[in-house]
Amino acid sequence: MKYTRTGVVILVLLIWQTVFANWLFPEYPHYDVLLLLMVHAGLYESWRHAVVCAIFAGVLMDNISGEPFGFYTSFYFWSIVGIRLSAIYLYILNRLLPTFLVAGLVFLEHCFSWLVWGGAETAFLSGHLFACEAEALLTSWFMLAIFRRYFREIPPVDMPVPVSRV
């Protein structure tokens, strides 16, 4: 049931990103909203659930976008790994942490794209990164609050205990 709900969220985010966001605000660049789900899954869901989420979302994004196949799958997977590892050292119950993690992932996604495209300038289009970061910082806390409500913030079984609480 939980996987079905996650699948629905992935499809809704995908439609928002490819259809609604571009129709409503065509002149503004938009960040990858699926990163919100990766942050949520990485922090609050089990390993298995987070990885399945990354692979499903990644394969869908790889196929409907023009990136080389595996770009999104790889980035989402490594995002989950990075978030899980950083959760050892961070106080994950801090409500501001996910917002900054999303902003960090937006930046890393640009870097990853820049690396994969062989240093092409398009990854850091003038003002694009800045606009995406601003949008991520302004909207992600709200979206993540909706996710927490939707998934009812079930505590993960295998989440590492934060060092600050040991």
């Binding site: 439609i15 490819t18 409907i64 023009g66 080389p68 490594w78 590892l85 994969v116 289009l125």
Partner: protein
């Protein structure tokens, strides 16, 4: 003694580097979904199509019921444009007939009539690094990979992958897309590809060939994608560098790919083999 965690971090880092290297090589290959592409395009396409239809319906209501004040002004403007277009159409028809007569006299082949499909843009590319969109026509409508996409204003891009009912289009603004073009007056060729953000460039255009700002750049028909004579853009800026063989030319495209709603797709583009046979 190296800790287990350090080994884990090191192994993860190496895997990440290998993953990145693999992706760098994949960039140079044609897009391949390894069997997942059709299903993903169909699944996302159905949802994107219905969402786009919903938005179009809302827009239609807005245009038809709430913007009536501007309709009369627009009607006057369109009437004037129609009169002008009628005159031009008559003139073009005469020229077409004359062209066909002269071609027959010179025993040249008449240009092939390519079948055309009109498609609606149902979704934009989710990332900023690829310039493209998805349309609601696919293999069932006769579309195949490599079909050229255009609007009445000019060339737009190329179909890069197709499922049964949907197709993914790469626009000329994408750094991975390039077509063969020619200057309208000198007929000298060059290559049209993305230059800076939001602009097209006309590259490999020899300095000895003449071109002027405002001149039209058309497709040459030599790339096996677009038929000859489709408008690509107008020359906006020319830079001559003494040390270079080529001119650096910037083109303004007449098509805004960010706000496109409908496009036309040619079903049978000229194949390179046909060009050589000719």
């Amino acid at each position: 003694m190296v800790s287990r965690r350090a080994i884990l971090v090191l192994v993860s880092f190496l895997a990440l580097v290998l993953n990145s290297v693999f992706l760098v090589f994949l960039v140079r290959q044609p897009h391949n979904g390894y069997g997942t592409e059709m299903a993903s395009l169909e699944l996302a396409g159905i949802l994107q199509d219905s969402s786009s239809s919903f938005i179009r319906t809302l827009r239609g209501w807005w245009r038809h019921y709430f913007q009536l004040a501007s309709v009369s002004r627009e009607n006057d403007r369109l009437q004037a444009a129609l009169e002008k277009a009628r005159f031009q159409n008559h003139r073009m028809h005469e020229l077409e007939l004359e062209n066909a007569r002269l071609r027959r006299l010179l025993q040249l082949d008449l240009p092939k009539d390519h079948g055309m499909v009109t498609a609606e843009v149902i979704a934009r590319n989710p990332s900023a690094w690829f310039h493209g969109f998805i349309v609601n026509c696919g293999r069932a409508d006769g579309i195949q990979t490599g079909c050229p996409v255009m609007t009445p204003d000019g060339a737009v891009g190329v179909v890069v992958s197709v499922s049964r009912h949907y197709a993914k289009v790469q626009t000329l603004m994408d750094p991975g897309c390039a077509i063969d073009g020619m200057a309208q007056h000198s007929r000298a060729r060059g290559m049209v590809k993305a230059a800076d953000a939001g602009a097209l460039g006309f590259v490999y255009f020899l300095r000895r060939n003449s071109v002027a700002v405002g001149e039209k750049i058309l497709t040459s028909g030599m790339d096996g994608i677009f038929p000859k004579g489709i408008l690509v853009g107008t020359v906006a800026d020319i830079q001559d560098r003494p040390e270079s063989l080529f001119r650096r030319i910037k083109i303004d495209s007449p098509v805004d790919t960010e706000t496109l709603e409908e496009v036309m797709i040619l079903k049978s583009p000229p194949k390179p083999a046909d060009l050589f046979a000719r």
